[in-house]
């Protein structure tokens, strides 16, 4: 294996400027939507006193979950000593930070009082998983930035494995914390399940890697650098394993709910109702977001086509967004069970499925988070040496020999 050389991406090509323009526009629109929501109040959104977390939270949670997953490639290199992944570790760390920043911005800007962010930083209720997450998020930035420094500063290279291990453990804690936001809610039928923590971890593996693959292909295509099949095919095979693992966790979650009579209501609501959540679950999450990517990635023809690998990764991302939509919005839409076994009705929609329609400001705020994440990546690879000059097979695979 040759020595890997990293370099900034050069020149302000039309393609690069277009990326900056689109991501910048998304970010500005997101900021505008947030200002509009804060100025008017949340009545301009589709969120209400029953669906209290809406589309912004779907994007925010997706980005935060994907952030920890994006770090996996670096972990495979530093913690599990797979040298083939070493050239990808810097981009992996950068993407992790960028996605987390994008997700957190959405989360903060949706608060009823984003101006009180300093309150969230100074008043802590240590029984709240939210409060723990504030530490986990801030700590993640610190740990991953230090990890990147150990990779990019020659004098600090000796600390890379230790820093990578710390970052790996931290990311597991972070996703456990994010999953537990839902796992710890005793009130609602869809939540209150310990499986949320490990399921969110495996979801992060899948979403983060799908984004990483797309990012890698885009950067290498856009900068005319060589990306070899060996590394790409390894990554896409890994993505297939993660997608299958998410399916397994989803299956266990629903099997548990289908077994316990108490949970038949919520299981039926998601799996077999007339509501949007059933369509999102089966069509987007399962068929297009899980089964189709698996078929594409493991089919000998499509699995070796870059276009198809790109399509499969995109489908995994869309399926992931649908999955989080079903978890967050579907979980709230199902009526609270105040009197088990009894029928309830009231002036405040007790006993009936809560209604929710995403509004434009919510969607723009959510996509604004994606814009922020992408703009961070686009600027960082421009000014710092994150990207190997070549990922050709001969450069990355120690066992490579030209046939």
């Amino acid at each position: 294996m040759k020595k890997i050389r990293f370099s900034e991406i050069g020149g302000f090509t039309p393609g690069y400027l277009l990326v900056l323009g689109i991501t910048g526009l998304l970010a500005v629109l997101g900021l505008g939507a947030a200002l509009y929501m804060e100025h008017s109040g949340h009545w301009v959104t589709g969120m209400n006193n029953e669906i209290v977390w809406g589309t912004p939270h779907v994007f925010a949670v997706f980005l935060i979950v994907a952030a920890s997953g994006a770090l996996n490639v670096a972990s495979i290199s530093s913690v599990f000593q797979k040298t083939m992944y070493k050239p990808l570790a810097r981009l992996s760390g950068l993407l992790a930070i960028a996605l987390l920043a994008g997700g957190l911005i959405v989360l903060v800007l949706d608060l009823g009082h984003p101006d009180r962010l300093i309150v969230a930083m100074t008043y802590y209720n240590f029984k709240s998983i939210f409060a723990w997450n504030i530490y986990l998020y801030i700590g993640f930035f610190a740990v991953v930035i230090f990890y990147l420094m150990t990779m990019m500063e020659r004098k600090m290279n000796g600390y890379t494995r230790a820093a990578g291990t710390a970052a790996f453990i931290w990311r597991l804690a972070l996703t456990t914390g994010t999953g537990s936001i839902f796992g710890f809610i005793v009130a609602r039928q869809a939540y209150d399940a310990a499986i949320y923590a490990p399921m969110f971890i495996i979801m992060s593996f899948s979403f983060g890697l799908a984004i990483f693959i797309l990012m890698l292909m885009t950067i290498y295509h856009g900068t005319d650098r060589e990306l070899g099949d060996r590394i790409l095919f390894r990554l896409k095979n890994l993505l297939g394993v993660f997608v299958a693992a998410v399916l397994m966790f989803v299956t266990i979650y629903f099997l548990t709910n289908l077994y316990a009579t108490e949970h038949h209501g919520i299981a039926g609501f998601i799996l077999a109702s007339d509501h949007i959540y059933t369509k999102l679950f089966w069509l987007v999450q399962i068929i297009f977001g899980s089964i189709a990517p698996l078929a594409i990635l493991y089919n000998p023809v499509t699995g070796t086509s870059r276009v198809w690998i790109g399509i499969a990764s995109t489908l995994v991302i869309l399926g992931g967004l649908a999955q989080i939509y079903v978890i967050i919005i579907g979980g709230q839409a199902f009526p609270l069970v105040l009197f088990p076994g009894m029928e309830v009705s009231s002036s405040f929609a007790d006993g009936i499925v809560a209604s929710y329609s995403p509004s434009l400001p919510e969607v723009l705020l959510g996509t604004g988070g994606i814009g922020v994440a992408l703009i961070i990546v686009a600027l960082a690879v421009k000014v710092l040496r994150f990207i190997p000059q070549s990922l050709a097979d001969a450069d990355v695979d120690p066992h490579y020999s030209a046939d």
Partner: protein, 256 residues
């Protein structure tokens, strides 16, 4: 001692005494050395010797009566008791208290009851609040500190009773004793301002003065209180008792 010396001595005593008194009063900021009244002041800490609760006899609660809801709205300035929330959709408007109809599907046995913050002993809203804005007073009343609520709505996700509301727009028509603010979460305060003045919550007062008289307010810790005696005689149900939150609001007759 000449008359002049006596005057000087008196003046010295007066000045010295006044100085000592002033020093005593200002010995430390915030410490009051002289009580002017024996009544418990509003700035005096509440005590856990009491646990306030409400008992609702659903046998006396009629489906066409909304007296408790109306009284709460008028007292605390929300819903029909306020000119605010004109932009918000119905499911975005505040719901501090609502009437719920509960029907046994098999037998058709039906009851109506008021549902509000249940003032849990172990409130999930307090557990999940990241800043501690959701808090429980030692006398059992669960409140929101509007100054440090960041509007994350996690408490609304965590409340099993759908008892909390988020304020979706700017408000102007508010009661001085029931402050509300855009971007924060609110719920039934058990009329803490009235309770601290020795009065019953507005809903209980309205219900008691009506023909139904379905609600009793009192100290659950005091075995001789009316609410405790009634619970001893006829028992009471906790909604979602399986969650072991031990609400301060109890019901009778829901399940017949």
């Amino acid at each position: 001692m000449s008359e002049k010396e006596q005057v000087n001595l008196t003046r010295r005593k007066l000045i010295g005494g006044t100085a000592a008194a002033m020093a005593g009063l200002t010995i430390a900021p915030g410490i009051i050395l002289v009580e002017t009244s024996q009544a418990r002041g509003k700035d005096e800490a509440v005590t856990d010797a009491v646990r306030w609760g409400i008992l609702i006899n659903t046998n006396n609660c009629t489906s066409d009566c909304t007296g408790c809801v109306d009284a709460c709205q008028n007292e605390n300035g929300w819903g029909a008791g306020s000119t605010d929330e004109t932009h918000s959709a119905p499911n975005q408007k505040a719901q501090w208290i609502r009437k719920v109809k509960v029907t046994d599907k098999e037998t058709g046995y039906a009851k109506t009851l008021p549902m509000m913050c249940q003032h849990c002993e172990n409130p999930p809203c307090v557990d999940v609040c990241p800043t501690g804005a959701s808090f429980k007073r030692v006398d059992g009343i669960v409140l929101v500190d509007k100054h440090i609520c960041i509007g994350c709505r996690y408490c609304m996700m965590a409340c099993p009773y759908k008892a909390r509301s988020f304020i979706h727009e700017t408000l102007t028509d508010q009661r001085s004793y029931a402050p509300r603010g855009q971007g924060t979460v609110e719920s039934c305060t058990m009329c803490v301002h009235r309770v601290d003045d020795g009065k019953d919550p507005a809903c209980v007062e309205a219900c008691s003065s009506s023909f139904n008289s379905a609600m009793i307010f009192g100290d659950l810790n005091d075995p001789s209180s009316e609410i405790s005696k009634e619970l001893q005689r006829h028992g009471g149900e906790r909604i979602r008792a399986d969650l072991r939150l031990n609400p301060g609001v109890r019901y009778q007759g829901i399940y017949g």
